[in-house]
């Protein structure tokens, strides 16, 4: 039976690429090591496909069509942004599995918008480059949630969507082993006057909820409260609860946390461990 065998939460901070030297060497090294560790753990899960849940930063979808959530069912390439050290190009795909997730969702009340061709942005391109690609040509299935552009998808709906992804995978004929990555920073103020502020208290609180697998606690945050304490960037918590909900009986394991004001973000790296499964190590 196809199943979701695990997942990860990881940031997608473009400043790691555009101004790598702005951060202290210790933090830089810790962040590099964290991506490498997550990538290694991902490889040991031996996935046949990776669903990466990103957030549009108002560059992919314009004011003429803003979807609540979107699935890439066809060609995928990217990332859109030209960032030093980040290669741009086509990514391997699994259209049959992607179409199955679409169809299963639509039969169960999730009217996925879809992309037949998509050039993903850095929110999918960075975790793909640092965690997936080093493990070989594993197909990627991109998902975008309305996490940065109003009207936002509600946290509870993001969680329901994650469950739908899991149920879809579990009803797919075959032996797919699917890993889900929720892509997002924790506290960060993007384009606001507080840009550069990081709120470690908030970040640690979020991390504790992830470790406990407490999706309900995360869904209980109000958006105004998130923006107040974690900045508009922390609205990407949607991607976390969606990914967590896709992993059966999830609990989180913290791999690394770095508060990096120079990169304007609290960076959390977690593995989402399925069921009572042993942590892949």
């Amino acid at each position: 039976m196809a199943s979701v065998v695990g997942g990860f939460l990881a940031p997608h901070d473009p400043l790691m690429f555009s101004t790598p030297d702005a951060a202290p060497a210790g933090q830089r090294d810790a962040v590099s090591a964290a991506y490498a560790e997550l990538g290694a753990r991902l490889g040991r899960l031996d996935p046949t496909a990776v669903v990466v849940i990103g957030a549009d930063h108002y560059v992919l979808f314009g004011p003429g069509c803003l979807p609540q959530y979107l699935l890439g069912i066809g060609d995928v390439d990217g990332p859109l942004e030209r960032l030093p050290g980040l290669e741009r190009g086509p990514m391997p795909t699994n259209p049959r599995l992607a179409e199955h997730i679409m169809g299963h969702g639509r039969e169960h009340g999730f009217d996925w918008a879809v992309a037949k061709s998509i050039t993903v942005d850095h929110s999918i391109g960075i975790p793909y480059a640092l965690m997936v690609k080093p493990n070989g040509a594993i197909p990627v299935i991109p998902v975008y949630l309305a996490a940065g552009v109003e009207p936002l998808v509600p946290l509870s709906r993001a969680a329901a969507l994650g469950r739908s992804i899991r149920e879809a995978v579990e009803s797919f004929p075959g032996d797919e082993r699917v890993v889900v990555i929720g892509s997002g920073g924790i506290s960060h103020w993007v384009g606001l006057a507080d840009m550069g502020r990081v709120n470690e208290d908030f970040d640690r609180e979020v991390i504790a909820h992830v470790e406990a697998g407490d999706i309900d606690a995360l869904c209980a945050y109000g958006d105004a409260d998130i923006v107040e304490r974690g900045g508009n960037g922390a609205l990407e918590l949607r991607n976390f609860v969606c990914a967590m909900s896709a992993v059966p009986a999830v609990r989180g394991e913290l791999v690394e946390y770095q508060a990096v004001p120079a990169w304007i973000t609290g960076l959390g790296f977690l593995e989402l461990v399925a069921d009572g499964a042993a942590v892949a190590r």
């Binding site: 930063h57 108002y58 993007v190 840009m195 508009n232």
Partner: protein, 92 residues
């Protein structure tokens, strides 16, 4: 006139190459293609990102158009501008 017109203008400046060029050539003329008030147009032309965010524009759009089109193209300059008061432009 409408936050949506403002957001559309700034979105186009973020992603659409011909729009960027038109703005570089003549920002007032670029703005004339959108239903903006005099005040809104003045803020777009002057890179008054703080004023635009206060009006409700998504800050990813103000940051993006600053980095694409403002002379310095610097994030530090953007943050400094965001922390200053908005331009006191008037107009309807």
């Amino acid at each position: 006139m409408s936050i949506y017109a403002l957001e559309k203008a700034l979105f186009d400046l973020n992603v659409d190459r011909p729009s960027k060029q038109r703005f570089r050539d003549d920002p007032v003329d670029f703005c004339s293609r959108y239903q903006l008030s005099d005040d809104e147009r003045a803020r777009v032309v002057a890179f008054d990102v703080r004023g635009l965010v206060d009006l409700g524009v998504n800050p990813m759009l103000t940051m993006g158009y600053w980095l694409e089109l403002e002379g310095s193209r610097s994030l530090g300059g953007y943050i400094k501008r965001m922390r200053a008061a908005p331009e006191p432009v008037g107009g309807k």
